[in-house]
Amino acid sequence: MRKSSMNKLAGFALLTAVMIALPFVVSGYKVDFLTMLMVNVILAVSFRVITTTGGWSLAHVPMMGAGAYATALMSGNLGIPFWFSMPLAGLVAGLIGLGISYPLRRTEGFAFFVASFAAGEALRLCWIRFKIPFGGHQGLVVPPPMLVPGVQWLDFAEAIPYYFLTLVVTVFCLMIMHRLDVCRIGSTFKTIHSEENLAKSMGINTARYKMLALTIGSFFAGIAGVLLAHRLWAIEPDQFGFSTTLYLLVWVVFGGTTTFSGPILGVVVLSIIGELLRPLADWVPMVYGIIIILTLIFLPGGLESLPSRIGIPKGKFWRAQITVEDR
């Protein structure tokens, strides 16, 4: 038990070290790609927080938009500095998540998809319809963040400083969400998914925990939206439309949701495939569509279930390799 958590920590540290080294190796454009990748990782992992209770919220990308719009209004119109606007924007997204989770708390399966979808679209329609303050179809302009006033050489409008800012926030968010996943609340979420009646008979208020999961997930989605908005410098309602939600679903299903690393794996692998297919950019959605259907037919557990599918017991990936070498 202790050993496996040590292994995880070592893996995490190694990954972080690689991510710190990467921007000095790859070219300028790729740095932006990696920044977006990390934003999407936060989005996918925060989505998993909700899916652990069994609900697949289709309002998750609009929640990211809520964070983006909140920070755009706060830092653009009110001049609130980034370090305050980021958690506040996350809080706004979380509160909106709490609001829509109330009617959703007792719905299941079909009704949950559809109602969350409609709620997210309603939020998006508000941005389109109310030109003041949301700017309608044109959206809003977001100023680049001013983090340390007075230090000229650290300009966060540049790609590499922003990359490191995103990295710090991502590592922080992932650590919190991982902690949440292994603590009591996280296991309660999973119990609600697998044994709802048992959870109820144990005195767990399942509806309230579902609302909690949606709120926490929306909070981190809002943080992802803040990072996205300050990098793109402009946001519009179409960015948070349903096609983005579909991409999110594909990432998460492809990676799998039972482990913490599943969604991360899905985002990273599919983003790299999408990047390799860049010359055929028009065809990427179709490739995604085919991948997702094939995944569901032949590998319903996602990429994370691949080791156990090919006969390696869970958590013994490395040891299995050594025994093969011994033979």
């Binding site: 697949w56 829509i100 109330y102 009617p103 959703l104 007792r106 719905t107 399966g109 079909f110 009704a111 998809f113 559809v114 109602a115 979808f117 409609a118 709620a119 679209e121 309603a122 329609l125 508000c126 389109i128 319809r129 349903f242 579909l246 679903l249 594909v250 299903v253 028009d282 065809w283 959605p285 179709m286 995604y288 569509g289 085919i290 991948i291 997702i292 259907i293 569901l296 037919i297 319903p300």
Partner: protein, 286 residues
């Protein structure tokens, strides 16, 4: 009086459109337990079929719509055989598979016909109709066409042996298969009928709406709101809900605008879900 008459007329046509889209979706859900997100794309394919046959090849309008119904019905049948059958009644898997199908169909249409250019479909019946208000025949046709299509679906489900078997299969698949209606056969039939309805809606709306690869998005959303309120899988409830939302949308669009109408529809649905999670008309637990 003129004003109210016009509103009733518009409401009738909006309700017909909603019913045509939502009943097919509801039927598919009732039998197969699949939330078919690609239903909106089926509608889009129906509209494109009419654009090709009627606007480009000058076929008669109703022949073009008939072909659209068949084409989309067969598309539904094929997607059931290749894709949805493998979801095995798992709602989440079926839903995500249909999301994959959305991507595939959209890219296919974009690659074949391009995304930028307008696809104008001329009105087949541009004459003005004066009846409780003014509209074109092209728009009015939607109402009798819906009554005929839904009426024949109703008759088929109620009076034909295979239609009754389909309903039985929706209620209790195991008992129905004991009597010789295999779940596969009923799934294929439901998918064919449901998709054909989407094709009919797309074909009939092609001269009224603008035809483009992403036209399904706006429609699927409304259809979902309607079937949630009507109770998924419940055709009668879906019909009532389409009438309610059709008139609600028309009234709000007349006084405010269509975006507000969509917002209000969603709010109505969310409030209803908070009070009655099982929908307006509770459907039997399976």
């Amino acid at each position: 009086m003129q004003f109210i008459g016009q509103m009733i007329l518009n409401g009738l046509m909006t309700s017909s459109f909603y019913a045509l889209i939502a009943v097919g979706l509801s039927l598919v859900f009732g039998v197969m337990h699949i939330v078919n997100f690609a239903h909106g794309e089926f509608y889009m394919v129906g509209a494109y079929t009419v654009w090709v046959l009627f606007a480009l090849l000058d076929w008669p309008f109703f022949v073009a719509v008939g072909v659209a119904i068949l084409v989309v019905g067969i598309l539904g049948l094929v997607s059931e055989k290749l894709i949805f059958r493998r979801a095995r009644g798992n709602v989440l898997n079926g839903f995500i598979m249909s999301v994959g199908l959305v991507f595939i169909l959209q890219v296919a249409v974009v690659e074949i016909w391009g995304v930028g250019k307008m696809k104008p479909v001329p009105a087949a019946y541009p004459q003005i109709l004066h009846f409780m208000g003014a509209t074109t025949w092209q728009r009015f046709i939607l109402f009798p066409a819906t009554v005929i299509l839904l009426g024949s679906l109703w008759y088929f489900l109620g009076n034909f042996k295979i239609g009754r078997a389909l309903r039985a299969s929706a209620e209790d698949p195991e008992a129905a298969s004991l009597y010789g209606m295999s779940p596969r056969k009923s799934a294929a039939l439901a998918m064919f009928l449901g998709s054909a309805m989407a094709g009919a809606a797309g074909g009939l709306m092609a001269p009224i709406m603008s035809v483009h690869p992403y036209m399904g998005h706006a429609v699927i959303w409304t259809a979902f709101v309607v079937i949630i309120v009507g109770g998924a899988g419940n055709i009668k409830g879906t019909l009532y809900a389409s009438i309610i939302f059709g008139f609600l949308t028309t009234i709000i669009t007349t006084f405010l605008d269509s975006t507000i109408a969509n917002l209000v529809n969603t709010l109505v649905m969310l409030v209803l879900l908070a009070i009655r999670p099982e929908g307006l008309v509770a459907h039997a637990e399976k």
